[in-house]
């Protein structure tokens, strides 16, 4: 039964990934930890493998629809390790809770801005 739920949640994760351009990890990690029973670290690592596969197929499809700027994507991807280092530095300077709340605030701000922009369009 929990296997079936894991399959359904992963289907939903892929669907969300295709619709809004994310990897789907937000749903893959709980599917792997809650329904399959992996630990948090193993769940996140296994989720990364799934994210890469989903993003590859999603990119292939979106490229067919003419929705991918490859050069820009390569620059963003290539520079992301800088961010990992910055993240480590930030987590040494600030408590985890402050970072969580700061990103939550940023996410809410971006959500509001997206909605405002879409309504004006």
């Amino acid at each position: 039964m929990s296997d079936v739920l894991a399959v359904l949640v992963c289907l939903a994760g892929g669907l969300a990934g295709g619709l809004v351009g994310v990897g789907g990890g937000i749903l893959f990690v709980p599917a792997l930890t809650v329904f399959i029973g992996l630990g948090q670290v193993e769940g996140e690592a296994t989720s990364l493998l799934m994210i890469v596969i989903v993003a590859l197929v999603g990119t292939y499809r979106q490229r067919g629809y003419g929705n991918v700027r490859m050069r820009e994507a390569l620059i963003i991807g290539a520079l992301s390790p800088l961010g990992v280092l910055a993240g480590v530095a930030a987590s040494n300077l600030l408590p985890q809770r402050a970072l969580q709340l700061a990103f939550a605030a940023l996410a809410l701000f971006m959500a509001a801005h997206l909605v405002r922009r879409a309504r004006a369009a």
């Binding site: 669907l15 399959i36 193993e42 690592a45």
Partner: protein, 128 residues
């Protein structure tokens, strides 16, 4: 006399670098994946339409995710390869369906869905 096209290119590169850095930082810190920041910033800073932003985001995630997997050393240690590959099957069916549906709905609907996702991420972070 500075060349305006050179300045514009530098500006563009700086913004892309900022997006890459933000994506890496947030995925490293919270395991939320880069897409949550890549898509909105491509829309806000580059004026991308929602479809172009989400397509480009997926391509960037291939690289961010691969680097993340390598950095974790997870390929050999923590990744449950068979489980991951098996569960990737429904996920891939989902992403093919999701991208197909996305071409048939108004772009603004994608923004509303994304806003919903961001609210869910925020709630999750606040409740942690």
């Amino acid at each position: 006399m500075p060349d305006p096209t050179v300045a514009a290119r530098r500006n563009e590169l700086l913004r892309l670098a900022a997006i890459g850095t933000a994506a890496g930082a947030f995925s490293g810190l919270f395991g939320v994946g880069g897409g949550t920041v890549i898509v909105p910033l491509l829309i806000f800073w580059f004026g991308y339409g929602e479809r172009l932003a989400t397509g480009t985001s997926l391509a960037a995630i291939v690289i961010v995710g691969s680097l993340g997997a390598i950095a974790q050393g997870g390929i050999y240690g923590n990744v449950h390869v068979v489980t991951g590959l098996l569960l990737a099957i429904p996920a891939v069916i989902g992403v093919v369906g999701g991208t197909a549906v996305q071409q048939r709905i108004p772009q603004q609907a994608v923004s509303y869905l994304f806003a919903l996702l961001l609210v869910a991420v925020a709630v999750d972070l606040i409740l942690k």
